[in-house]
C-alpha cells in the first residue's frame, strides 16, 4: 500500500521545489536524485504539508531544503531515531529519510539497524558515494580497502561495509539498489520503495565528482555497465551482458554461466524471487570488487520485500487494546491511585 494517496488535479513536479537555491557542486549526482524524487512526488500528488523529509548531516542531507514540504535537517546520524519518533505519532504522513554512507553507516549505524528491525514505515534514500564529501574527502565506511583519501594517504586499512548485507542482517523488509546515472530505473525504485509499508531501504550509488569521481563508473558507464551489472526483476532470471550471460545457483553459490557458449539454458538460471529471504541473503552478498578477475556482476533492483507489521501499527494497536481493556484513561483516577485516605 502506498503512503502517497492520489489526488486530483495532479500537480506538476515543479510544485514540490522550494524557493531555495540548490547548492550542491555542479555535476553532483544528487541533482539527478532530487529530480527523480520530485517526479515521484508529483506522480502521487500528495499535499505538500503531508510530506516530511528528515535528514542527518552531509552533502545529501541538505536535500530537505530544496523541497517545498515539511523538512528537518537534523544532526549527524540521528535522522532514523528522529524519524522513528515522528512516525510513532504521525501514522498518516508520507515520510522520507535522506542519508549518506557516513551518516547512516558510520556515526548513525546503530540507529539505522534498529530502525530496520523495528520496521518503521518510511522511505530511506541512502546516498552512497564511498567518501566524506562535506568534510572534503576522507574515506568512508563504504570506501574500499586501500582507498586513497585525505585521511588515508597510504590507503585505507579498513574493510568496508556491504550496506545491503548489513541491512539484510538487520531484517530490513525492503531492500533495493539504484544509481544516479540510471534515472529511469531509479524512478522505478523510488516508486517501489514508496509503495512498501515498512522501512524501505534504497541504496543509491551516487557519484561525488569532486572527491571520488568515477567510483561507480564501471557500473554506470555504457561501455562496462552490461558486463558488470545485473538488474534483477521479480520472477525473471538473472541475466546480464545484454542477455549473453546469466547467474546460476550451484547449491548456495552463485556462478556465472555463458549462455551464448551454451553453458546453461535460461531455465537453469537463478529466477529472482523478491519474497525469498534466503536467496536475498545471497543476492546482497554479490559484492565483488568489479576490478577483480571473474568478479560477479553487481545487482540492482528490488532485492527483497517482506510484509512484516510496522512498528507504529503495533504501537498504536497496544494503545487501542489498553483503552479497550481499561477504558479511556481517566486523569482523576490516575491522580488518585489505588490507596487513598482522607483527612477531614
Amino acid at each position: 500500500m502506498s503512503t502517497l494517496q492520489p489526488a486530483a488535479p495532479a500537480p506538476k513536479k515543479i510544485d514540490y521545489s522550494s524557493d531555495q537555491q540548490v547548492r550542491w557542486c555542479p555535476g553532483c549526482g544528487d541533482y539527478s536524485i532530487l529530480k527523480q524524487v520530485e517526479s515521484v512526488l508529483a506522480v502521487h500528488g500528495r499535499a505538500k504539508e503531508e510530506i516530511v523529509f528528515i535528514s542527518g548531516i552531509g552533502c545529501s542531507s541538505r536535500f530537505p531544503y530544496y523541497l517545498d514540504t515539511f523538512g528537518m535537517h537534523s544532526i549527524h546520524g540521528r535522522a532514523p531515531a528522529i524519524a522513528s519518533g515522528m512516525r510513532s505519532v504521525q501514522p498518516d504522513l508520507s515520510v522520507w529519510l535522506i542519508t549518506g554512507d557516513g551518516d547512516s553507516l558510520s556515526i548513525g549505524g546503530n540507529h539505522l539497524i534498529h530502525m530496520l528491525r523495528r520496521n518503521v514505515d518510511l522511505n530511506v534514500l541512502l546516498f552512497n558515494n564511498e567518501i566524506y564529501g562535506l568534510t572534503k574527502g576522507q574515506y568512508s565506511p563504504t570506501s574500499p580497502e586501500g582507498a586513497i583519501s585525505k585521511s588515508t594517504p597510504m590507503g585505507s586499512t579498513d574493510h568496508p561495509f556491504n550496506p545491503l548485507a548489513l541491512c539484510k542482517g538487520a531484517d530490513a523488509t525492503f531492500i533495493a539498489r539504484g544509481m544516479d546515472r540510471d534515472p529511469k530505473h531509479l524512478r522505478e525504485m523510488l516508486l517501489r520503495a514508496d509503495a512498501h509499508r515498512g522501512t524501505s531501504l534504497l541504496e543509491i550509488y551516487q557519484n561525488c565528482n569532486v572527491f571520488n569521481d568515477g567510483a561507480f563508473e564501471i557500473f554506470t558507464e555504457k561501455a562496462s555497465k552490461a558486463a558488470h551489472t545485473v538488474f534483477v526483476e521479480h520472477g525473471k532470471p538473472l541475466l546480464f551482458g545484454n542477455g549473453t550471460k546469466g547467474i546460476k545457483l550451484d547449491g548456495m553459490t552463485p556462478v556465472v554461466v555463458d549462455l551464448a557458449a551454451g553453458e546453461a539454458a535460461a531455465d537453469d538460471l537463478w529466477i529472482h524471487d523478491e519474497r525469498d529471504s534466503f536467496k536475498a541473503s545471497i543476492l546482497v552478498r554479490l559484492f565483488d570488487d568489479p576490478r577483480e578477475k571473474d568478479a560477479l556482476p553487481r545487482p540492482f533492483g528490488v532485492f527483497y520485500v517482506n510484509d512484516r507489521h510496522t512498528h507504529e501499527t503495533k504501537m498504536n494497536a497496544q494503545v487501542a487494546l489498553a483503552k479497550q481493556k481499561k477504558g479511556e484513561g481517566d486523569l482523576d483516577a490516575l491522580l488518585r491511585g489505588e490507596n487513598v485516605w482522607t483527612i477531614a
Binding site: S18, Q20, A47, K48, E49, E50, I51, V52, I54, P64, Y65, D68, T69, F70, G71, M72, H73, S74, I75, R78, P80, A81, I82, A83, S84, G85, M86, R87, S88, V89, Q90, D92, L93, N110, H111, H114, M315, Q318, V319, L321, A322, K323, K325, K326, G327, E328, G329, L331, D332, L334, L335, R336, G337, E338, N339, V340, W341, T342, I343, A344
Partner: protein, 624 residues
C-alpha cells in the same frame, strides 16, 4: 509470683515520631517490608518520608557488606520532612546489615536482630573478627537488643506445608513485617489485601505469606521479651485526599496529566538507566492514556525520538541520569535550535562517569545549565521532594510547550525512590497549558508562513506536519531571522543568538514571586537550597528559628533562569549559606550572578544531608 505462663499485659506508649531502618541482604525482601509498612502508616494518617538504599549490584554475594539493602522510614504524628537523621529502631537480618548500619542508630535505640544471620559464616562475611559476635559479646550494651531467630520461627510457622526450605525462608520478611505492625499497634489488613492481590494465582504462596505475617504479629503478643508497644497518632495534616507517591511516580503521572491538559499525545523515548527507569515502567503501564513509550537503542536515540515526536506534534519527553544526559547533549542543542517543546528529566546519581549509580548527588547542575556547544541556554528547574516531582514536571511541560523550548528537570535518586504522602489535585484544578500553534494557510495566496517570526514573548509558532500550507524547513544549522532559511550572515547569527537567549530569559517573567519557605524577611542568615535537600534544610531552619536565631530558608525551583526576586532577597540577610550535595555548583552560579559572598556546605558522599549537619553549619556561620 505467677507460675502460669500467660502473656503479661503489654504497655502502650505514645510516640510523636519514629525512624525505623530495615536492613538485610538484597534477597531478604527488605524493600517490600519497608514499602508495606510505609503504606500502612500513611493510610493510618501519619506523615511519612522514606529512603530506600539499594546496593549497586543486583545480587552481591550473600551476607557481604556490598549486598546490604536498606529501607529507612520516618513516620510521625507531626510533620516529617526527611527520612530522619538517626534511627530509633534498627531491624537487621544478618551481621553485614548490623555492621554497615549501626552508626545510624541513636544511643539507646532498639536493635531487632535475626540471630540466624549471626552464625560464624555470616559474621566472617561481614568482617567481624573470629570468635566475636556482637549479639553476645556485650558490645551492644548501649542499645536495647532483641535477638529473635526469625529464620527458625518462619520455618516453624510453615511446618506441614509443601513448600521447600528455600521458599519457606523467602517469607522471613513477612515475619518481620507482622512483628513491626504489632510493635506499632497497626492493623495487618492493608498488607493482607496487598498479598491477596499479589498472589492471586498462587494460593499456596498466599497462604504461606499470610501465615508467617500473622506469626510475626502473634510473636509480639506472646513473647515475654517484648513488653511495650508503641502508638504514633495520625499527623494533623491539611484536609483533603491523600495517597503515597515516589518522585519517579510523580514524574510519570505529571507527564501524563500535563500532556492531557495541553491536548497533546505523550511520547516518551527512554533508555534504561538507574535511577530513572521506573519512569519508563510507570508510563508503559498507562497506555490507555494514549501514552506511547519507546525503549530506544541508546540515550541518543531516546532523546532524538522524543524530538521527532515533538516535531510531529506530540509532547516529546525523555529521562535519564548523568551519563545518559551527557550523551543527549548534542540533541539538546538541536532541540534548542529547532525551538520545539521537549522535556528532559535528569534523575541525578553520584558521578562522574558511572560513579555511584544507586546513590544520590546534585552534581549535574552545571551539566544541565552549560553542557552544550555554542550558546544554548535551556531552562533548568529542580524538584525538591517526591510530591514536588509532580509539580515540577508539570511546570517543565508548561514552559516547554508555551515557550517552544527544551526544558531540563533535575530530580535525584533520593527523591526518585523516596515516598511521601501527596494531597493530590483534581484534574480540573491543574493549570491550563496552551500550545502556540501557527494559523494554517488555507489558500495559496495567504501571507507567507514565517516559522521563526516571534510573538511578544519571543516565542515562534508551532507548525506541525499536516497543517495546511505550513510546510517549512528547520534544522540545527543557523537560520535566518523570521524565514528560517539557512543563513551564514554574521550579523544575523549574532541576532539569532540574542533572540534565542532573550526568549529563555523572559520565561522568568512568568514565575510566581519568590517566597521564603520559612523565617524572617530580613535577618542574619539566609539558607538557599535547591532540589532534594529541601526536607533536611526545612527541618534545620525550623529548629534554628525555634531556638531564636534569625535564620530564613528559601528553596529555589528555577535554576535557570533564576527567579527575578532572588537578587533583592539576598541583600536582606547578612550571610548566605548554600548547602548542596556537590562541591558548590549553585554557590558559584550565585556568586557570579549576584556578587554575593555565599558560603557553601558541601557533601559529596552519595548520601543526603542530615538536618543536624545543616543546623551545625548554620550555627558556625552565625558565630563567625
Amino acid at each position: 509470683m505467677d507460675t502460669i505462663p500467660t502473656p503479661r499485659p503489654k504497655v502502650i506508649e505514645a510516640r510523636e515520631k519514629v525512624v525505623i531502618l530495615f536492613a538485610g541482604d538484597s534477597g531478604d525482601g527488605i524493600q517490600l517490608t519497608g514499602t508495606q509498612f510505609t503504606d500502612t502508616n500513611a493510610l493510618f494518617g501519619n506523615d511519612v518520608s522514606t529512603f530506600p538504599n539499594y546496593p549497586a549490584e543486583i545480587r552481591a554475594p550473600q551476607g557481604t557488606l556490598a549486598g546490604v539493602s536498606g529501607y529507612q522510614l520516618h513516620f510521625g504524628s507531626v510533620d516529617v520532612f526527611t527520612p530522619g537523621d538517626v534511627c530509633d529502631v534498627l531491624v537487621v537480618m544478618n551481621s553485614a546489615a548490623l555492621r554497615s548500619n549501626l552508626a545510624k542508630l541513636k544511643h539507646g535505640g532498639t536493635i531487632i536482630a535475626n540471630s540466624d544471620g549471626f552464625d560464624p559464616k555470616n559474621l566472617r562475611l561481614a568482617g567481624y573478627p573470629d570468635e566475636e559476635n556482637p549479639l553476645t559479646d556485650g558490645s551492644l550494651d548501649n542499645y536495647v537488643l532483641h535477638t529473635v531467630d526469625i529464620t527458625k520461627l518462619t520455618r516453624l510457622a510453615l511446618e506441614g506445608t509443601s513448600l521447600g526450605m528455600k521458599e519457606k525462608d523467602r517469607s522471613k520478611n513477612m515475619f518481620v513485617l507482622g512483628f513491626i505492625n504489632w510493635m506499632y499497634s497497626r492493623s495487618l489488613e492493608r498488607t493482607k489485601k496487598f498479598l491477596e492481590a499479589k498472589f492471586k494465582n498462587k494460593p499456596e504462596l498466599l497462604e504461606a505469606n499470610l501465615k508467617v505475617l500473622q506469626a510475626g504479629y502473634n510473636y509480639g503478643d506472646t513473647s515475654e521479651t517484648f513488653t511495650t508497644r508503641y502508638e504514633v497518632k495520625p499527623a494533623p495534616m491539611p484536609k483533603g485526599n491523600y495517597r503515597n507517591i515516589t518522585g519517579n511516580q510523580g514524574i510519570a503521572i505529571g507527564l501524563i496529566a500535563a500532556a492531557q491538559k495541553a491536548g497533546l499525545e505523550l511520547f516518551y523515548g527512554s533508555y534504561p538507566i538507574t535511577p530513572a527507569s521506573d519512569i519508563l515502567h510507570e508510563l508503559s503501564r498507562n497506555k490507555h492514556f494514549g501514552v506511547k513509550t519507546f525503549q530506544a537503542e541508546d540515550e541518543i536515540a531516546a532523546i532524538c525520538s522524543a524530538i521527532g515526536a515533538s516535531y510531529g506534534g506530540a509532547l516529546g519527553a525523555t529521562a535519564s541520569s548523568g551519563p545518559g544526559i551527557a550523551l543527549k547533549g548534542e540533541a539538546l542543542g538541536l532541540a534548542f535550535m529547532l525551538e520545539i517543546p521537549l522535556v528532559v528529566v535528569n534523575v541525578q546519581r553520584g558521578g562522574p562517569s558511572t560513579g555511584l549509580p544507586t546513590k544520590t548527588e546534585q552534581a549535574d547542575l552545571w551539566q544541565a545549565i552549560f553542557g552544550r556547544n555554542g550558546e544554548a541556554p535551556i531552562p533548568v528547574i529542580a524538584a525538591s521532594s517526591p510530591t514536588d516531582c509532580f509539580e515540577m514536571v508539570y511546570e517543565a511541560v508548561k514552559l516547554a510547550v508555551e515557550h517552544m523550548t527544551p526544558v531540563i528537570l533535575l530530580s535525584d535518586g533520593y527523591i526518585a525512590n523516596g515516598a511521601e504522602p501527596w494531597r493530590f489535585p483534581e484534574a480540573k484544578d491543574l493549570r491550563p497549558i496552551t500550545p502556540p500553534y501557527a494559523k494554517p494557510r488555507e489558500t495559496e495566496d495567504a501571507e507567507a508562513f514565517m516559522p521563526y517570526a516571534r510573538d511578544e514573548r519571543g516565542v515562534r509558532p508551532w507548525a506541525v506536519p499536516g497543517m495546511k500550507g505550513l510546510q517549512h524547513r528547520i534544522g540545527g544549522i543557523e537560520k535566518e531571522d523570521k524565514t528560517g532559511n539557512i543563513s551564514y550572515d554574521p550579523q544575523n547569527h549574532e541576532l539569532m543568538v540574542k533572540l534565542r537567549a532573550e526568549k529563555v530569559q523572559r520565561i522568568a517573567d512568568t514565575y510566581r514571586p519568590i517566597r521564603l519557605d520559612s523565617g524572617p524577611g530580613t535577618g542574619d542568615l539566609l539558607i538557599v537550597g535547591w532540589g532534594s535537600t529541601y526536607g533536611a534544610i526545612r527541618t534545620a531552619a525550623l529548629e534554628l528559628q525555634q531556638e531564636g536565631h534569625s535564620v530564613a530558608h528559601v528553596h529555589l525551583r528555577h535554576m535557570f533562569p533564576f527567579n527575578n526576586g532572588l537578587r533583592g532577597l539576598l541583600k536582606k540577610y547578612d550571610k548566605v549559606l548554600v548547602p548542596e550535595m556537590n562541591s558548590g555548583q549553585l554557590r558559584q552560579l550565585m556568586r557570579a550572578e549576584y556578587l554575593v559572598d555565599a558560603q557553601g556546605l558541601n557533601k559529596v558522599q552519595g548520601m543526603p544531608f542530615t538536618a543536624e549537619e545543616i543546623r551545625v553549619a548554620a550555627l558556625n556561620l552565625l558565630k563567625k
